[in-house]
């Protein structure tokens, strides 16, 4: 007997189509009709809101304060940092007018309302925040300056994919200024660790943290670090970045201070961010052929109760029974927070509603009918393990009080199960035994979802690096990062034959 899954396409059949199907069937997001911009629907936005809440707490606990900077950045601000403008100038939305008017019955841009200086819709805020830092900073006593903002940014994209690459996206961007190089580097790595722990904790998404190669640096940065996650098709997703900007932006924007000896110094700055792309990462890490599985800490509802309503007078008693359970649950805690519980009272039959929540990936789903109520029971589905050995839905009946007692532990267990499955997949799919370029070609040609390859390298720069990048490009491969604390397993660079100094991860990537 072949199991029939809830999605019209499986990961095996067509990963890209499967991804779109999850987004649609789980009501996560939809095309907006506005080029490159999506609408985040309640369940998809709710996951992002949970991510925000949890990460915001960590950002604040580590001494950063939230601010808000303007959406618009005057064109001239971009001209100051040469590499930065080079990196971003190609893909920005530009406001050139500030008024519309009616002309011959049609609404048009009023040519008389042309701005003297065009305004760029922020693709990132180093330039405008750096300008503020230059005003705020006088003395070493003002340092460090550590701010963060949650904001929308726009990068014009030709080919978009929901959550992964959209013209507008939501993110947080942290910006800090420090007295010394060491302090700024320490901040950069502290944030990298915060991102890693956030991904591996609440998102149950294993990642490799490390430094990006020179060619993948943020425009204007001295060093860029990332966390890289492996999607179920073996591709890499850059899930967060932390940049040490050196004194580059400080020079461009005059971020100076009087040091302890009374001399003027340029500050060392950092910036770092994660975005709604993380939602895409969660989908491609935890989704299965029945839809999404949301890690419990970021699930808008952790437990969904579906009363089997019959539009009869008995419904009232059933709802009351469900509400008793809900009340008991919200009085309990998991992960240090009260449980989040929904009774789905919407019109409709219980069966389709159950499958709706399976596709959305609520961690625990209860179906409660009159017989359950009479027997003081609940019928439970754990979304992380939907089917039993017999390939049938693994519904379990248990007493409602027993369920309430077990629920926090079950949620913790589900998170652990999701993480360990993803971790096992990551560990199993990083090959270290590819020794030459032909082997690389063979490996990435042989399998549908080939994963990553780790190789030793000599950390080439400039033209030598460009050559490596070009060769990899012919296989659609990119260098992801140099894992932290990695040392070469052999003596020779995979690419150059020179002495190896570290390991790098090669992969196809989103």
């Amino acid at each position: 007997m072949t199991r029939k899954n809830a999605l019209p396409v499986t990961r095996q059949e067509d990963f890209a189509a499967w991804y779109q199907a999850v987004i649609q069937e789980a009501d996560l997001a939809e095309e907006s009709g506005v080029r490159g911009c999506m609408i985040m629907r309640p369940w998809g936005f709710g996951i992002w809101e949970r991510m925000q809440q949890l990460l915001d707490r960590k950002i604040k606990e580590s001494g950063h304060e939230n601010c808000y900077f303007p959406l618009f950045i005057p064109l001239s601000y971009f001209a100051k940092e040469a590499e930065h403008v080079e990196g971003f100038a190609k893909e920005m939305a530009v406001v050139t007018h500030h008024r519309l008017k009616m002309e011959d019955g049609a609404l048009v841009v009023d040519p008389e309302a042309k701005l003297e200086e065009p305004l760029v819709v922020r693709p990132t805020s180093e330039t405008v925040i750096g300008t503020a830092f230059s005003r705020w900073l006088q003395s070493w006593r003002d340092l460090p300056i550590m701010v963060n903002q949650w904001a929308n940014v726009v990068r014009w994209e030709m080919r978009t994919r929901m959550f992964l690459r959209t013209s507008e996206f939501l993110w947080q961007e942290g910006h800090t200024a420090h007295e010394t190089r060491e302090q700024a580097l320490d901040e950069t790595l502290t944030i990298l660790a915060m991102y890693r722990d956030f991904a591996q904790g609440p998102l149950a998404m294993p990642v490799i943290a490390g430094e990006k190669p020179e060619n993948e640096r943020f425009p204007g940065a001295v060093a860029t670090y990332s966390i890289e996650a492996m999607m179920q098709d073996g591709k890499a997703l850059q899930a967060g970045t932390s940049h040490y900007l050196g004194q580059n932006f400080a020079h461009a924007q005059n971020i100076r201070f009087q040091d302890r000896e009374g001399q003027f110094q340029f500050a060392h700055t950092t910036s770092w961010g994660v975005s709604t792309r993380l939602v895409g990462g969660v989908i491609m890490t935890h989704g299965d052929d029945d839809g999404l599985r949301v890690p419990p800490q970021v699930a808008p509802h952790q437990i969904v109760i579906i009363p089997m309503l019959r539009e009869t007078p008995e419904d009232a008693a059933l709802l009351e029974y469900c509400d008793t359970i809900r009340k008991a649950l919200v009085g309990a805690q998991a992960f240090g927070e009260p449980l989040r519980v929904l009774i789905d009272k919407k019109a409709g039959k219980a069966g389709p509603k159950r499958w709706g929540w399976v596709k959305k990936g609520a961690p625990l789903i209860l179906e409660i009918g009159g017989r359950d109520a009479a027997g003081e029971q609940v019928t439970m589905l754990c979304r992380d393990a939907l089917y039993g050995a017999d390939d049938r839905l693994a519904s379990q009946a248990l007493g409602w009080q027993a369920f309430v007692d077990a629920a926090p532990g079950l949620l913790v267990e589900i998170e652990a199960n999701l993480f360990s499955a993803a971790k096992a997949r990551l560990d199993a799919n990083v090959r270290s035994d590819v020794t030459d370029f032909d082997g690389l070609k063979a490996h990435f040609g042989a399998s549908q979802y080939p994963g990553w390859v780790a190789v030793d390298w000599s950390r080439p720069t400039g033209d030598a690096l460009d050559g490596v990048v070009e060769r990899l490009k012919s296989l659609k491969l990119t260098i992801r990062n140099t894992p932290e604390q990695s040392s070469p397993s052999g003596e020779t660079c995979f690419f150059t034959g020179e002495p190896a100094v570290e390991r790098v991860l090669l992969a196809r990537a989103y």
Copy 2:
């Protein structure tokens, strides 16, 4: 002896200059260098974040779900609802290009990257959200649809004032669709009540809730309701609006459904919002000549502990003592939430730091020196009552455990004090005894801060209303709203001489 206040200008001397001084001295916000856009600094943004948290909870509890819709709205979307486009077309930022390029060493807009259809930066989202509703809605079973988003919006403004009127501002916008007129009107008024309770609760800001006159309606609305607050200069601030849109947007955007009889019907929609303008309202409601006084529920830090550091080895013990107090405080609750407490460890002398927090308006300020620590005491200032009868700072010494026990109650008391002072001012400054236009002219000419005047009126419409509006405009007056449940005190309309049907509030306004 004249008291010297912390601000360089008093409310009495120059209210507008005082307002700017509070914003600057309390580090709430600053000009960004980008026309019409401000930077919200941590203390100012923190107040908005607290507002968001509290209001978001209410919005969710009342059955709304958060979503996110695109920043950009195609020009053609605006053309659909005639009144709406009329109301907004004059002041919108328009994106016309999507790329920059270098030309002769200068960064310029790339003329080849002109968009086929210009994109408007959302001034509000009825058009784009209505278009989504038309996709989401098929049957009466899908109703109501109740969504909200927290977002930035842009309305091009010629004259801006921080928090009150800026080109970009932050807000929430709720949008709902309903089966019947009654349900939509009920939603409109439910939200109005939610805004009123929010203003009068956590913001301690008394407001009058009521319907706006026809000429002040949201473009495209059938009815607009507002909450109006009285600032300390007697001017009115529209602090939140709730609109019943009838079927106007439903017709324009084809928001239709099959009703219980299988017939197609247009939905009845609503929209409603509050913005960062509320921060301006809090400043002008509670600020005094020493700076801001933040109502405790929206204060980022409710209690600030200033250790009197001397850069000596004894500092460590003092900080430890402060931390003992902090730990005890954060274990306590006020308003159902843990207390928010900061130890201000920044470099600098205690005196200037104390005045810094007075200007910022932290509700409770503790100064703790070595002598306090030795005596297990704290020295406390309550920001709502800074000076004693002798015009000196009303510092009080008390045992630290006694302070910890008292703190939650003190915060509740401070909120009540702020509200009752503002309520008394509002009540004392609404005149009802002005009987004719000359009297109105005399009243508003006679005093610096003349407050509001309530008059009976016949609810004129069309040209008759326009005439009234014009006459009021000559006195720089506007009609604020018709207070809920108000009935006329006399029989004749103040303006038309016709039978009066309700009362309206007249005021100068922000």
